[in-house]
């Protein structure tokens, strides 16, 4: 009982505190209806003292009422009773007992709705992870959260915002000042984030402001604060979410396990599903999951949809977009300005077009203030968006009716309609005009004063009277709220000076300094003593301390001041084009397949014809049409290739480019469920750079941190296309296995605090990982095949079953002979086939055993000595494997080496004198064979894909330059066009930088250039610990990049 009283007492203090703030804000000329403010009647709560229930009846008359984006009533009346709109319209009689507010000349809009906030949600505690990379981190294989929850902490659909939400008057102010009276609040943490609430921004008991206690279910790709190690990569996040959908389906059918997380996951499926993503590629990643599971997501994005508007439109989804447009960069220092990426420059220019672009495309979207560093930028940015193509109508819908519908509160808020909540704002004029002032924000009938209305406007010229003020005039201009003052003393020693004025209600204080006669600051304090005409009256203190009385009387209207904030920004429609991809060397238009005749070249056919001199190659419709001498040129673009060489496009069997969010999901020893296909980054500059080295196809592999890594993806270097479009359609599925030092973690740092280590730590343990995994897979296959099976679908085991069924193929990272031999025996005994040993640096020692099993070898040309297991790696490895009869190739595992794999093939000539014809096959036909696509690519043969390279010299030579590279007959790399692109790039950078300088000169805030670069992955790249609680993976990547750079600097 004592506790109860104490709590009640606390709440009382709260209430008084609220009121005292309120009191301060009241002013003399303000109508005193605050006294009738609706009381916080709450049925179940006891009251200390007398009940104070007020009718809450208001009549707002004579205003321009914008009931929704399509209807405006001028001179209308809005009746409010007990927080509800009782009537809205023209000529509505005002019943007795209503407080009348005259809004002549003013506007009423529906209260705005912010569809994405964390308002009132406590910050999630950050987990402390062991530092120092994979090996050093504490092993947390399963959830540490007490209770009958799921295994992974990042899947927490059981989180309900309603159970933790607590309104915060101070924090709601930023929102209310911008006109928001309703917001969605969500728990911004984890992959499945549970449900959100919709609340009114009234400063009272949480019980009274809840509009929807289960508004939506939320998701993201970011594991957030979860301590569970898995997932450590974006592909892991996606795999986990995918598995969760299957687990939730299975959960409905089983009785053995009670699992709150899965139960809640199922229970919240009928709510709106909101997915936080970042850029368009991220949106498309989430959309793939949506389509896979028949889900419909609403996407909260980073506002970059303009980059891929067609693909965005095609998702058929709704969006919640921010207006946190970037500030211009500091570009004065040309060297520092070099750190700004081209897409950052372009984004500065194009981000404000995003809302308009979405509108034009007919995409439904809400606008959120989420993500703004400074809430005050909200309206500036909305107006910038309008200048850049967003209509006022759409803007209003995106801030009212659209979010209301998305969040299931359209019956309560969004329009000014009879029966809806009295959530509205009062403004000085059109909400979207720069000089508009938001006066009041009524959130569900609770008044919040943003800026006082109906108070005397002090702007004007005044005559000042009083001792010491002979011949003095005073001018007040600026805008209400931001007054400016100047004082003029005329006569023999006439002078004029600017002063400072502060107004608090009806009180004013002014100070200024004439600099001479007298020297020093003169201070005035006073109050508004009359409003017709406005008269200010009070005391003055002179620099010498002497006192005087003063009176200032309005004489005439003041001239408009020219403050920069008042200037209407010029409509800025001069923006550069969107390019594909949105990065340096992107194309304004994606190049198309051409009919081309390359004449008189030395053609390395890779077929039985061998190397043909003075030969022509005709490509048409993306295919090689014919190869021969003196081919007719009818209709084809002719390229004279005299003295030059033509080869098939280079195929890299082992690459880690064009993937994002981590290349290793090394948190478990078996992660066959993760898929590189989910995380393709088609905007990686290395796709383009490698075209410039003749590479046309790359096999993007999971890293080598664990014995059974992830599923791989074969791609073509179609620069400018979307992730799904660069995939090599119809190619067989592969998976990465790994052996050796990486798998056993031998080169990781020592474990933190003697923590447990991931199994295995020896090559002995590696064998058992495979035996165990395939034993499970076989049993699983049997169990699933049984009639009426209720065996849970397990994506990890599915992939292994595919291997057993010869539907998925292994490429295994491998070094020393012992482990290679071991895996061959495991494969024999478990009944699966190894397609390729990749790296395979000691392949030369077991080539005969590989030959017996028809296993290919994809190695480095000459790498060795970089760790113990390559102490006997030799550059003759390729030659020896080739001679024994293996399908042999050279791969890169490195974004740099990949673009001169032709030279690496040349090293088979240096070391071992392989014939040049065979050497080139190491990086073209042979890897194509390994990938089972030699029917499509790998040689110059009519009917095959027109993936060809025009070289300036013998392609194996260090002197060969790739002048043109075709993929599917499309000229994606052309050394001449590249030169033009470089010029255009420099010119466009110069243009945007000029524009930034102008913006800065106009007073725009700026930001320092920061460098964010693509992370280059190789086999051993492991994501650092998830110490960053990031909004999304892009952000996480940025932060990690920065951390790496900081570390690199320290190390230098």
């Amino acid at each position: 009982m004592i506790i109860k009283i104490f709590i009640f007492f606390l709440s009382l203090i709260d209430k008084f505190r609220g009121k005292s703030i309120y009191m301060k804000k009241t002013i003399l000329f303000y109508f005193l209806f605050f006294a009738l403010k609706v009381c916080d009647a709450q049925e179940t709560f006891p009251v200390n003292g007398a009940w104070d229930i007020r009718p809450g009846q208001y009549a707002f008359i004579n205003g321009t009422i914008v009931t929704n984006a399509d209807q405006t009533i001028s001179g209308g009346t809005l009746l409010v009773k007990d927080r509800i709109i009782e009537a809205v319209g023209k000529d509505i009689p005002i019943p007795k007992g209503y407080t009348v507010v005259n809004l002549e000349g003013k506007y009423i809009y529906p209260g705005l709705i912010d569809a994405y906030t964390t308002y009132g949600i406590p910050e999630q505690p950050r987990q402390v992870f062991g530092a120092g990379g994979f090996g050093g981190r504490v092993i947390v294989p399963v959830s540490t959260k007490p209770g009958a929850y799921g295994w992974n902490e990042s899947i927490k659909p059981e989180m309900n915002a309603k159970t933790v939400f607590h309104g915060d008057a101070a924090k709601s102010e930023d929102l209310k000042k911008n006109g928001f009276s309703t917001v969605q609040s969500l728990i911004h943490d984890g992959i499945a984030r549970g449900t959100s609430v919709v609340v009114s921004l009234g400063d009272e008991r949480d019980n009274l402001i809840m509009l929807n206690d289960q508004a939506a279910a939320h998701y993201s790709f970011s594991k957030g604060t979860a301590a569970t190690n898995y997932p450590s990569s974006l592909m892991g996040s996606i795999a986990l979410l995918r598995q969760t959908y299957y687990d939730a389906q299975w959960y409905k059918t089983q009785k053995g396990e009670y699992n709150i997380s899965l139960d809640e996951f199922n229970r919240t499926q009928n709510l709106p599903q909101i997915f936080e993503v970042s850029d368009p590629q991220s949106i498309l990643r989430a959309d793939k999951i949506a389509k896979e599971f028949g889900r419909h997501y609403i996407y909260k994005t980073d506002g970059l949809e303009y980059r891929r508007i067609a693909a965005i439109k095609a998702t058929g989804s709704e969006f919640i977009i921010p207006v946190n447009f970037p500030e211009p960069y500091d570009v004065e220092d040309p060297i520092d300005a070099r750190s700004i990426k081209y897409d950052q420059l372009k984004n500065w220019e194009l981000a404000p077009t995003n809302p308009g672009v979405l509108e034009k495309a007919g995409v439904k979207f809400a606008i959120t203030s989420y993500g703004l560093t400074n809430a005050r930028d909200f309206w500036t940015n909305i107006r910038t968006a309008i200048t850049n193509g967003l209509s006022e109508k759409q803007a209003l819908n995106s801030l009212t009716t659209i979010p209301a519908e998305m969040l299931g509160v359209a019956d309560k808020v969004g329009t000014l309609t009879k029966g809806k909540l009295a959530s509205f704002i009062i403004t000085s004029g059109n909400l979207f005009k720069p000089d508009n002032i938001i006066y009041e924000n009524w959130a569900e009938g609770r008044q919040y004063v943003v800026s006082k209305m109906n108070i005397a406007d002090l702007r004007g010229n005044y005559l000042v009277n009083g001792t010491g003020f002979a011949n003095t005039t005073l001018t007040i201009n600026g805008s209400p709220g931001v007054y400016e003052v100047s004082v003029k003393h005329s006569g023999t020693d006439s002078t004029r000076t600017r002063g400072t004025i502060t107004r608090t209600g009806d009180r004013v204080s002014i100070y200024f300094d004439y600099k001479q006669n007298p020297e020093g600051i003169i201070r005035l304090s006073g109050y508004i003593s009359s409003i017709f005409p406005i008269t200010l009256k009070g005391d003055a203190v002179f620099p010498d301390g002497s006192l005087s009385k003063w009176t200032a009387t309005f004489t005439s209207a003041a001239p408009a001041s020219k403050s920069p904030s008042q200037e209407t920004p010029k409509p800025n429609l001069n923006v550069g084009p969107v390019i594909y991809p949105f990065a340096a060397f992107g194309n304004a238009e994606i190049p198309k397949a051409e009919t081309v005749l390359l004449k008189n070249a030395t053609v390395w056919t890779n077929e039985k014809e061998g190397i043909l001199k003075n030969t022509d190659v005709l490509i048409e419709n993306g295919k090689i049409k014919s190869v021969g001498k003196n081919l007719p040129s009818a209709g084809a673009k002719v390229i004279d290739a005299t003295g030059k060489h033509i080869s098939a496009g280079i195929v890299d069997e082992h690459s880690h480019i064009a993937a994002t969010g981590g290349i290793n999901e090394g948190t478990q020893s078996v992660t066959s469920e993760v898929r590189i296909a989910d995380v393709i980054d088609a905007e990686d500059i290395n796709l383009y750079r490698q075209l410039a080295g003749g590479v046309t196809t790359s096999h993007i592999l999971h890293g080598s941190a664990n014995a059974i890594g992830g599923q791989t993806q074969l791609i073509k270097h179609r620069w400018g296309m979307l992730p799904e479009e660069i995939k090599f359609a119809g190619s067989d599925g592969f998976i990465k296995f790994a052996l050796g030092e990486n798998v056993k973690g031998s080169n990781n740092g020592p474990p933190a605090n003697n923590a447990a280590l991931r199994f295995p730590q020896t090559r002995m343990g590696v064998e058992e990982v495979y035996i165990d995994a395939f034993t499970r897979a076989k049993e699983y296959k049997t169990a699933r095949a049984a009639k009426g099976s209720t065996t849970r679908r397990d994506l990890e085991l599915d992939a292994l079953v595919e291997i057993l069924d010869n539907k998925r193929f292994i490429t295994c990272h491998s070094y020393v002979q012992s482990e290679i031999n071991m895996l061959m025996h495991v494969a024999d005994s478990m009944g699966f086939h190894i397609n390729t040993f990749t790296h395979i640096l000691e392949g030369y020692k077991v080539a005969d055993k590989m030959k017996a099993r028809n296993i290919a070898g994809s190695t480095f040309s000459d790498w060795w000595a970089y760790k113990s297991e390559v102490a006997e790696a030799i550059p003759y490895n390729g030659k020896l494997m080739h001679e024994v009869g293996l399908v042999t190739g050279f791969n890169s595992d490195d974004a740099e080496m990949a673009r001169r794999l032709n030279q690496e093939a040349g090293k088979a000539v240096t070391y071992g004198h392989m014939s040049e014809e065979d050497a080139l096959k190491l990086v073209t036909l042979n890897p194509a064979k390994m990938m089972h696509v030699d029917n499509r690519i790998g040689s110059i043969k009519p009917g095959k894909d027109a993936d060809i390279v025009l070289w300036s010299a013998d392609p194996l030579s260090v002197y060969a330059v790739a002048e043109k590279t075709f993929v599917d007959g499309v000229l994606y790399w052309d050394i001449e066009k590249d030169a033009e692109k470089q010029k255009a790039l420099a010119a466009d950078e110069g243009r945007i930088i000029q524009k930034m300088l102008e913006a800065k000169n106009k007073g725009a805030a700026t930001q320092r250039p920061t460098t964010t670069r693509h992370r280059l992955y190789e086999c051993e790249s492991v994501e650092e610990d998830n110490f960053v609680v990031a909004d999304d993976y892009t952000e996480m990547e940025r932060a990690k990049q920065a951390a790496r750079e900081a570390r690199d600097h320290n190390e230098q």
Partner: protein, 437 residues
């Protein structure tokens, strides 16, 4: 290989074909004069002599010219008709001999001392003349190297070694000739994002952090300079003793700096202190060629076979960097990466040829230019009379992977053993599978 070696059988002493490294012995001093005839001679300074000859006696070149060689009594004649002769390649700024296995074998790693300011630590004494890696590099024509320490702000001092020696003492070609400084990186205002700001604490920007280090270095060097003015200081400071040479012209300061701003700072710094400086790395050196040329500061490019730093850069920028410095009138050399990868040094040089350099300019990068920068050009770097006979014969173009095939190599006139671990393993497994090499 075997075939090659047999054809030169008479020249080679004590070759056996047992496996392992212990049998690859340093060559004996040159006793008989050698005359190479009929070769295409790449002098190293841009000059090419077709059908040329070269003679050397007791380790020194005694004649180079076109046509028939003058007769030299008791000489060993090598007919190199159709073959190429090059000056031995020089690999500066390498960890060759300092690291045997990069990762997972810390005991074999000796390139990075702990601490920030180590001008006194000497790479020469850690140079492992018995490294298995050295013969694999040497057999691609790299005959001299500068094993260089890493780490800290001042990493230590380096020497130039020749790559055929019983021990580091024999290997030393020019002792303790450079001190190595890592110029602090500010990197264009990059700041650490994702760090949690502490209220009330103004975060140091990278530029400020770098400036602190620059101040630290400046102070150290000024004191070292003052110290160097006194012949016998009352209290000996071994760091300053090591730095003495910087101020009397006997040592150079190799400064690792990639960005234009930092290169500028480093050049000004060394000029003010009167130090002979070399920029190493120099990725953005092409932006400041005037400064480098006017101050006579050379650049050692680190790798051409690398990626551009910025997405916006010309995709071929690293390939074009030598040409840009050539056109800018800057003296530039080249190194590869690490230790074992130095065997690719010829290809790193050849890479620049497709992008503007001539073949002979590319050759100069890794011969005479490197020699000048290292201060050994009086004795090596070109095939000119009076210089050491550091040279090799290749069947084809040594800068190209489809040409490089070193048959014979001489260091100071000694006909060195070109066998190595890799050739031995190749032989071993060719035999296992019954293949011809």
């Amino acid at each position: 290989m075997k075939r090659t070696i047999l054809s030169l059988g008479g020249l080679l002493l004590g070759i056996s074909f047992a496996y392992g490294q212990a049998n690859i012995s340093p060559a004996k001093p040159q006793t008989k004069p050698v005359v190479i005839t009929g070769a295409t001679i790449h002098v190293g300074n841009g000059q090419v002599i077709n059908n040329g000859y070269i003679t050397f006696v007791k380790g020194k070149i005694t004649g180079v010219g076109e046509g028939a060689a003058p007769s030299v009594a008791d000489a060993e004649i090598i007919d190199a008709t159709g073959k190429q002769v090059y000056p031995g390649f020089i690999a500066p700024m390498t960890t060759l001999g300092l690291i045997e296995i990069e990762e997972g074998a810390r005991g074999t790693v000796d390139d990075t001392e702990t601490g920030e300011l180590n001008p006194h630590v000497r790479s020469l004494v850690a140079y492992n003349a018995d490294s298995k890696v050295i013969p694999t590099v040497r057999s691609n024509g790299i005959l001299l190297a500068q094993p260089t320490p890493n780490g800290g702000l001042i990493s230590g001092e380096s020497s130039v070694v020749q790559l055929d020696a019983w021990n580091w003492e024999d290997a030393a070609y020019k002792k303790d000739m450079a001190i190595h400084l890592n110029w602090p990186v500010a990197a264009g205002g990059r700041e650490r994002r994702g760090a949690i700001p502490v209220p009330g604490v103004v975060q140091e920007t990278p530029a400020q952090r770098a400036q602190k280090k620059v101040d630290e270095i400046t102070s150290l060097f000024e004191q070292a300079k003052a110290y160097a003015e006194i012949a016998k200081p009352a209290v000996t400071n071994i760091r300053f003793e090591a730095m003495r040479g910087l101020f009397n012209g006997t040592k150079k300061l190799f400064i690792i700096a990639d960005n234009a701003k930092e290169i500028g700072q480093a050049v000004t710094f060394s000029k003010r202190l009167g130090i002979s400086a070399v920029i190493v790395g120099g990725k953005e050196s092409y932006l400041v060629t005037d400064l480098l040329r006017e101050n006579n500061v050379p650049v050692i490019i680190r790798e051409t076979q690398t990626l551009p730093d910025r997405d916006e850069d010309d995709v071929y920028l690293p390939y074009k960097l030598p040409k840009l410095l050539q056109d800018g009138g800057v003296l530039y050399g080249l190194t590869g990466t690490g230790f074992w990868r130095q065997r690719n040094l010829p290809f790193e040089a050849g890479q620049a040829v497709g992008y503007g350099l001539t073949k002979e300019q590319a050759l100069s990068m890794i011969t005479i230019n490197n020699a000048k920068i290292l201060g050994i050009d009086k004795t090596t770097g070109t095939l000119e009379t009076g210089k050491d006979a550091n040279l090799f014969i290749s069947k084809g173009d040594a800068l190209d992977m489809i040409g490089l095939d070193v048959e014979t190599a001489f260091i100071q006139g000694r006909n060195i053993n070109l066998d190595n671990l890799h050739k031995q393993l190749y032989k071993k497994f060719s035999d296992k599978y019954g293949l011809k090499e």
